[in-house]
Symmetry: C4
Subunit: 251 residues, 4 copies
């Protein structure tokens, strides 16, 4: 029971962080897989992330349906989360958002997005761009059913981030804290790469070896270094009092 | 009576949102057509949008004159609104502003402004640029009479947005909430397009089919998705307590 | 006496506005000519503009010396103001600052700064760039004596703004409210021009006729339109309660 | 004793300033050499700079070890500070951070970072770029031992700033106030240079003579001009009440 309450609180914190750090505005959402039942995940119903409270969290199944008879309107794009959880057993948390700095990389073909700063390493070496029009023609660009969601998840494959042309991105990670960190540093990495192009000359990206070196336990969600930023971001958005560090992170 | 009070409150919220989201500064204005008398519209007298209260709302006619004998100084450019309402019976709300990110598109001929992100779809497929100098020569660039306003409305034609060279933009929509949404996402769409140019290569815009798909009822002012951002923006600018969602949106 | 108190209060407001709108940081200053004795001007002693109060205002003469025996440390660059007041009887208020967006125009020779948006019209048609090294060789780049100040004032000539290479700008106007407006819109005009270059193609500047049209009484300090932004900016920086509009602006 | 308390308070102020001015986020750190024992330095244990209090300050030795038996987790990159203090007896304060605007200059080879504005003069004439991969191959990019730290210090040599490829920068100065000033103006100088490239044409940097002119006593930590910005920044980040100016700065 306490476990569930902590998960809900962490999810509220994540929503507020993403809003405060301008990864989401009224649109965009973050979810976490149910650790007890991996075929379910938790996410707010249709509320702006900056206003989400614990009472707004709804349990969804992997078809994007609310369970427990919840009838509140759900996010139109909840299918994105369902699709990723279904395809990727290693993923426990998902963000979909429209952070401004990454949007150019979804519409311009000249420069692929790639990690160029150490905090951007969590993006991974390859960022596919998924174009909903390729299979679904003219749509409202939203992922509003499982067919589209499965196609997006297939494009994501085993990467950490996929861009969605003219729309936004989906990010996946093994924990909530890690997907938030990835989502906050993703736009920063994009801005740095964009500016580097202005400077001209050759641009050095992180090597695959460097990316692998950074994808280690030292950067797990409860490591000293990672916890520092979670606590920092929670304080900035007024959620410092909600933060609790587990005594036994492995529990 | 309650209807009128709600309209005035909504207009106050719209003013505060546009100020907080930096679409307007001390200059720029938003209006709404009188639903009872379509030859009149409501707009503040000459007050900075971020300071507008219900008492500041003045009823104007389609020549830009205050009705009911109101003698407070009016916005110099109220004619823009009068001109658009006269030419476009389908329009119920108008914004004129000088949001910084769209200004380059009014003075540079190299890249036409066009929708490239899903939230920019409401811009529509074509954004004309109106140059006041074409017909009126050297002016102070402001639209200060009905002749100029009619010329601008003719340039707008049946589009949703027109840029005004060296000055700003006018946006028109079927409802207040929609014109605010359009006005907030217009600069974001402009920034994304500007940055995409830095990345180089071909840039994919929204297709006309995609724009049409998004221009549906699901995005009406009281739909779940649209209401979410209105509530979000109202909260950000300190007007959360003023928001009321109609029980019967069609009333 | 009341006149002097109002001037001091207006000068405090101007300082706070310039700090809040990021025209100045700890450095930069704004002054106003003494309307009773045109050979004197008022400016704070060496305090960060965002912290200036009425007690900090010092009367200076046109050699940059404090009068009335004030011994508090003065701004190192007070000579800029003295030099402009001495050379330009039409000027009653001066700003010197380092607003970030104008700095590139002082060091790059590729694009001259010029007004491209209507709110930038007050810049005037020509913006000279003054390079202190031309006459004074290697300095600390600050204007720290009357010789340098006179050279800068000669470069300014009868323009409204001069850029100072690698350093900042000086702006001059007939009133305090106008020099503040000019100083806030100067960086915005610079950013718009910079971005327009990214878009490519021909860039349309304001014509001299347009600049002249805007330089009329309607934009005097106490006109409806100008007062609106002064009140707006004062409110934003927490000085709304200090604002007083003269009953007879001509007094 | 009072000396030590003042140092700790100054270090807290510096942490808060760097966080508020967005030089650091949860990551990055600032240290000061122990004036009594130059083989020790003070720095927070592993806490986000914006949350550092006096109780968080830990004394470190020049191998990056905590002294006095402090067992709290330390910053992973404390070795950077140890390495610079060991190599540079003239340095009394060090910052390591990842300010966004400087990151492009660490990955793009087209434009070397150099001082172009007077407030950027403290960068010095030459900014080396250190690439950890040159000697250490694929790492997590962090400086996590003394070998790497000594290599970085060797690259810094007698400059004031070194960029770290794909990671951030290290800045060194003779006093805490000066290293903070350097670190705040470093990103601004980078942004100005970046924008100047957009404008095109030749770009004028500060000359070595100008840099030398500015590196004088007038800009020492307790000079009128420097103190103004320290007080200003402290006020902005809510630490105005902690600021104390020594009666005898030379003590």
């Amino acid at each position: 029971m306490r476990e569930y309450n902590r998960l809900r609180t962490d999810l509220v914190i994540a929503n507020r962080i993403l809003a405060f750090e301008e990864v989401v505005d009224a649109y965009g959402h973050v979810s976490i897989r149910n650790p007890v039942n991996p075929n379910h995940f938790y996410m707010s119903h249709s509320v702006a992330p900056g206003m989400v409270t614990q009472e707004d969290i709804v349990e969804h199944d992997l078809e994007g349906r609310a369970v427990d008879g919840d009838t509140r309107p759900l996010y139109l794009e909840r299918f994105i989360h369902a699709g990723v959880y279904a395809a990727r057993p290693d993923v426990n948390s998902v963000v979909h958002a429209h952070a401004e700095a990454i949007l150019p990389y979804g519409i311009a073909t000249g420069t692929p997005l790639r990690p160029v700063i150490h905090s951007g390493s969590f993006i991974g070496p390859h960022v596919p761009v998924w174009n909903i029009a390729d299979r679904f023609g003219d749509t409202n660009l939203l992922v509003t059913n499982m067919d589209q969601a499965r196609d997006l998840a297939a494009a994501l494959a085993d990467n950490n981030v996929a861009l969605m042309r003219g729309h936004g991105f989906v990010a996946a990670a093994r924990s909530l804290i890690e997907v938030v960190r990835l989502s906050v540093y993703l736009p920063r990495n994009a801005r740095v790469l964009t500016t580097a192009l202005t400077l001209g000359g050759e641009i050095t990206s992180l090597s695959e070896g460097e990316i692998n070196q950074r994808n280690q336990e030292a950067y797990g969600p409860y490591s000293t270094a990672t916890w520092r930023t979670w606590e920092h971001w929670a304080n900035r958005c007024g959620c410092g009092h909600m933060v609790t560090r587990p005594e036994n992170p492995g529990e």
